[in-house]
C-alpha cells in the first residue's frame, strides 16, 4: 500500500549501493551501445545526434510528442481505473487491464450479435455494473480486512476468470471497434507547420477530449456529490467512514462500476487505435509505471504520470532506441519509473512518509 517509507534522515548506507547499481547499469548500457557503434561516435550518438535531429526536423519532434501525449492519455485512463479502486477500497486492482478488454469485447460482441451501437453501450454499462456487484459480493465482501496482498491476488483470480469468460462468450479473436457507429471521428487533421507535416488523428483528439471530460466529471463527482464525499472519506480511513455510517459495500460497488466505465471508455479508445483483443491486457501493464510516477492515490498524478511516461517512452524510442536496435519501448517506461522512484520514492504527488515505531 502506501507502506512506502522514507526516513527523515537519508538512507546513507543504501544510497551508495543504489548509486553503484545505477552506475553499473549505465556502464552496461553504454558498453552495449558502444559495441554496436564505432566507439568514438558513441558519445556523439547519445548526446549530440538526437538533439540535432530534433532541431532539424521539428515537425517530427512535435509529432513524436503528440504521439507520446496520446498514448500517455490512454495509459492515464487505465491508471485512473487503478487509482479509483485503490483510493476507495485499498485494492491494487490488477484486473483493470482485463476489464478494459472485457468491456470493449462486450460492446463489440453485442454489436456483432445485432444490438444497435448505443444500446450496446448501455448494455455494456449494465454488464460492467453487474460485474462490479458480483465482484463486491463474491470477492471483496468475503475478503474484507484481509491483507492487501490477498486482495491483490484475488484480482489476479478475477483476471483469469474474465479471460476465460470473455473468450468463451465472444471468442478470443481480435475484433474491430465500432468507431463509426458510435460517431467517433475518423481521419486526420494535417497541419503544415515547422517545415513539415504534423498529422493529428481526430480519434486521438477525441480521446484527449473525452478523457479530460471524464476526469472533470469525476472531479465534480468527488467534490460535490454525497457519494463523492463518502468516497473520499473511505479513501482517508475505512474506520472513519464506517463510523459516520457510510456503507462500504455500496461504495465498493460504485467505485468498481466507475472503474468499469473508465475501462469501457479506455477500451473504445484503444480499440479504435488498433483492435479489441486480449493482447491489450499486456499494454495495460504500462499503467503500472504510470502509477509509480503519479502515486497510487492521486488522480492528477495518474494523468501527469501517464503523460510523462507516454512522452518519455516515445521520445526515448524514437531518438535513442535505434542506437541499441530499437524496441526499447517495452521496458523504457519501467526504467523511467524506476529511476524516478529511487529519488522520490513516494511518487510525484505523494507526501513524504515519516516512519514511526
Amino acid at each position: 500500500m502506501s507502506d512506502i517509507a522514507t526516513r527523515p534522515a537519508p538512507n546513507v548506507f543504501a544510497n551508495p549501493m543504489v548509486k553503484a547499481g545505477l552506475i553499473a547499469a549505465a556502464i552496461v548500457a553504454a558498453i552495449a551501445i558502444g559495441v554496436r557503434l564505432d566507439p568514438s561516435n558513441t558519445l556523439y550518438a547519445i548526446f549530440v545526434d538526437p538533439f540535432q535531429q530534433m532541431v532539424q526536423a521539428p515537425d517530427l519532434l512535435v509529432q513524436t510528442i503528440w504521439e507520446g501525449l496520446v498514448s500517455g492519455v490512454l495509459y492515464a485512463l487505465i491508471a485512473l481505473g487503478f487509482v479509483l479502486i485503490f483510493k476507495a477500497s485499498g485494492v491494487f486492482n490488477f484486473a483493470q487491464g482485463i476489464m478494459v478488454v472485457f468491456a470493449a469485447l462486450t460492446l463489440v460482441g453485442l454489436y456483432e450479435k445485432g444490438v444497435p451501437a448505443f444500446l450496446a453501450v448501455i448494455l455494456t454499462l449494465g454488464v460492467m455494473f453487474a460485474l462490479a456487484v458480483t465482484i463486491e459480493r463474491v470477492v471483496l465482501r468475503p475478503l474484507v480486512n484481509q491483507p492487501d496482498i490477498i486482495l491483490f491476488m484475488a484480482t489476479f483470480g478475477i483476471t483469469y476468470f474474465l479471460i476465460g469468460f470473455g473468450e468463451s462468450l465472444f471468442g478470443g479473436n481480435p475484433k474491430q471497434m465500432i468507431t463509426e457507429q458510435l460517431y467517433l471521428p475518423k481521419g486526420a487533421i494535417d497541419l503544415q507547420i515547422l517545415g513539415g507535416l504534423v498529422s493529428l488523428q481526430k480519434i486521438d483528439i477525441a480521446a484527449a477530449i473525452i478523457a479530460s471530460l471524464m476526469i472533470g466529471l469525476l472531479a465534480l463527482f468527488f467534490q460535490y456529490t454525497r457519494i463523492g464525499r463518502a468516497l473520499r472519506a473511505v479513501a482517508d480511513s475505512h474506520k472513519a467512514a464506517l463510523s459516520v455510517g457510510i456503507s462500504l459495500n455500496q461504495i465498493w460497488v460504485i467505485v468498481w462500476f466507475t472503474a468499469g466505465i473508465v475501462a469501457l471508455i479506455t477500451g473504445i479508445m484503444w480499440g479504435a487505435r488498433s483492435d479489441v483483443s486480449f493482447a491489450l491486457e499486456i499494454v495495460a501493464l504500462k499503467a503500472l509505471p504510470v502509477l509509480i510516477l503519479g502515486g497510487f492515490t492521486s488522480i492528477p498524478g495518474a494523468i501527469v504520470g501517464g503523460l510523462i511516461i507516454g512522452v518519455g517512452e516515445k521520445l526515448g524510442e524514437f531518438y535513442w532506441g535505434p542506437l541499441i536496435g530499437g524496441g526499447i519501448e517495452s521496458w523504457l517506461a519501467y526504467f523511467i519509473a524506476l529511476g524516478f522512484l529511487l529519488f522520490r520514492p513516494q511518487g510525484l504527488f505523494g507526501d513524504k512518509i515519516i516512519e514511526r515505531i
Binding site: 491483507p147 484475488a154 483469469y160 476465460g164 520514492p345
Partner: protein, 359 residues
C-alpha cells in the same frame, strides 16, 4: 492415533530443531520420496512423467525461489520468469564454453548468474517496498526479455534465435537432448529439486531465514535488532534468483528441450509462479509444492482428464473452462484460506494430531 507427538520426547536441542521433529512426518517424507523414486517412474506413463511430473518439479523449484523472496522476506517480484531465463541462457552459454563439464554442474552453476542479476535488480528494494517494488521488478522482466531476443550472443547466433539444447550425458546416459528418456530427465529433476529443497529448508530454518522473516514482519525492528537490511534483502534476492535460475535452466534443458526462450520466459510465467506461491502458501516450502501441483497439474488434468472421463469438452472450451476455473479457485482459496494450501494442510495435521480425542 496414528499421527501424534505424545511419547516422542526430544532429549536434545538438535532433535527439537529438526525440520521434521515427528517420527510420522519423517516416515511420510520417506514414503513420498519412495513413491517419487520408484512408483512414479515405474508406474507412470511417459506422458505422465514428461508432461506432469517434470513440469511439477520444475515449477516447484521456481515457486520455492519466489517464496523465499515473497513469502519469507515479503518482497513481491513479478520478474521471476526473467530470472529463470537468465539461468537458461547462462546454462546454454556454459554448455557451449565447457562442453565437457557435467551438465548437472552447469545447471547448478548457471543459477549463480541469475543470482547476480537478481541482486542487481534487487537493489531498488532497499528504497522501495510493496507494490512499488513489484512494478520495479517488471522492469527486470521486460528488459531481460528484450535482451534475450536482442543479444544474439546469448543464443549462439543460431538462425532460429532460440536455445538449441545439445545432447549431454551423465555416465553415458543422455540427460539432455531428444534422446534422453523422460525417466532419466525426471530422475535428474527429482535429484536437483530434492537437494535444493533441502538447502532451502536449512536456510529458512537458520539465521538467514530468521533474518528474512524478521525483515518481512517488521523491517524496522529487524534493523534495530542488528539485522542488516541490505544483506537480508539482497541475500533473499540472490537465493531466490538462484533457485529461479536453476529452475529456468532445468525448464529448457530437461523439459522443453530447447525452444524460443523469450517466449517461454514471458510475463505470464512470472504471474503463474506468483500464483503458485500464493495459492500454496506464503512462507511455506511445502506450500510451494502444493501451489505448483495445483497450478501446473490442474490445467493439464482438466484438459486431458475430463475428456477421458467422458465429459465432452472441445479443446477451446476446455481452455476457457480452465481459465475460469483457475480464476475462480484462486478466489475461492483466498476466501477459504488466505494462507494457502499449506495452512489447510497444517490444520489437517493438527486435527490428525489430536484425533480421535480433540480435547
Amino acid at each position: 492415533m496414528l499421527y501424534r507427538e505424545a511419547g516422542q520426547y526430544k532429549s536434545t536441542y538438535a532433535a527439537d530443531m529438526a525440520v521434521f521433529p515427528l517420527r510420522e512426518d519423517r516416515i511420510g517424507i520417506a514414503v513420498i520420496l519412495g513413491i517419487a523414486l520408484v512408483a512414479v517412474p515405474f508406474l507412470g506413463s511417459d506422458f505422465f512423467i514428461a508432461s506432469v511430473m517434470i513440469p511439477f518439479l520444475i515449477f516447484s523449484l521456481a515457486a520455492i525461489g519466489l517464496n523465499i523472496l515473497t513469502g519469507y522476506t515479503g518482497l513481491i517480484s513479478l520478474g521471476t520468469a526473467a530470472f529463470m531465463g537468465v539461468g537458461a541462457y547462462a546454462c546454454y552459454k556454459l554448455t557451449t564454453f565447457f562442453p565437457n563439464v557435467n551438465i548437472i554442474v552447469l545447471i547448478l552453476v548457471s543459477g549463480l548468474f541469475s543470482a547476480g542479476i537478481g541482486v542487481l535488480f534487487g537493489l531498488p528494494s532497499l528504497r522501495i517496498k510493496g507494490f512499488y517494488l513489484a512494478v520495479a521488478t517488471l522492469a527486470a522482466q521486460f528488459f531481460l526479455q528484450w535482451a534475450f531476443v536482442r543479444v544474439p550472443w546469448l543464443f549462439n547466433y543460431n538462425a532460429s534465435g532460440a536455445i538449441e539444447v545439445p545432447q549431454r550425458t551423465l555416465f553415458d546416459i543422455p540427460v539432455t537432448g531428444a534422446s534422453a528418456t523422460p525417466e532419466t530427465r525426471y530422475f535428474v529433476c527429482l535429484g536437483l529439486v530434492v537437494v535444493l529443497t533441502w538447502f532451502a529448508s536449512n536456510l529458512v530454518h537458520g539465521k538467514l531465514g530468521r533474518s528474512w522473516m524478521a525483515v518481512r514482519d517488521m523491517d524496522i525492528a529487524a534493523e534495530l535488532m542488528g539485522i542488516k537490511l541490505l544483506n537480508a534483502k539482497l541475500g533473499a534476492f540472490a537465493v531466490s534468483s538462484y533457485f529461479a535460475g536453476v529452475a529456468g535452466a532445468m525448464m529448457i534443458f530437461l523439459w522443453y528441450g530447447g525452444g524460443e526462450a523469450a517466449d517461454v520466459f514471458s510475463i505470464r510465467l512470472s504471474f503463474n509462479i506468483l500464483f503458485m506461491v500464493i495459492i500454496g502458501g506464503l512462507g511455506s516450502l511445502i506450500g510451494s509444492f502444493f501451489g505448483a501441483a495445483f497450478l501446473s497439474v490442474l490445467p493439464t488434468a482438466l484438459k486431458f482428464g475430463l475428456p477421458a472421463l467422458g465429459v465432452p469438452l472441445t479443446g477451446a472450451t476446455a481452455e476457457h473452462v480452465t481459465f475460469m476455473l483457475v480464476g475462480a479457485l484462486i478466489i475461492f482459496f483466498l476466501i477459504v484460506e488466505p494462507h494457502g494450501l499449506a495452512r489447510l494442510w497444517q490444520i489437517g495435521k493438527q486435527k490428525l494430531r489430536t484425533w480421535p480425542f480433540p480435547y
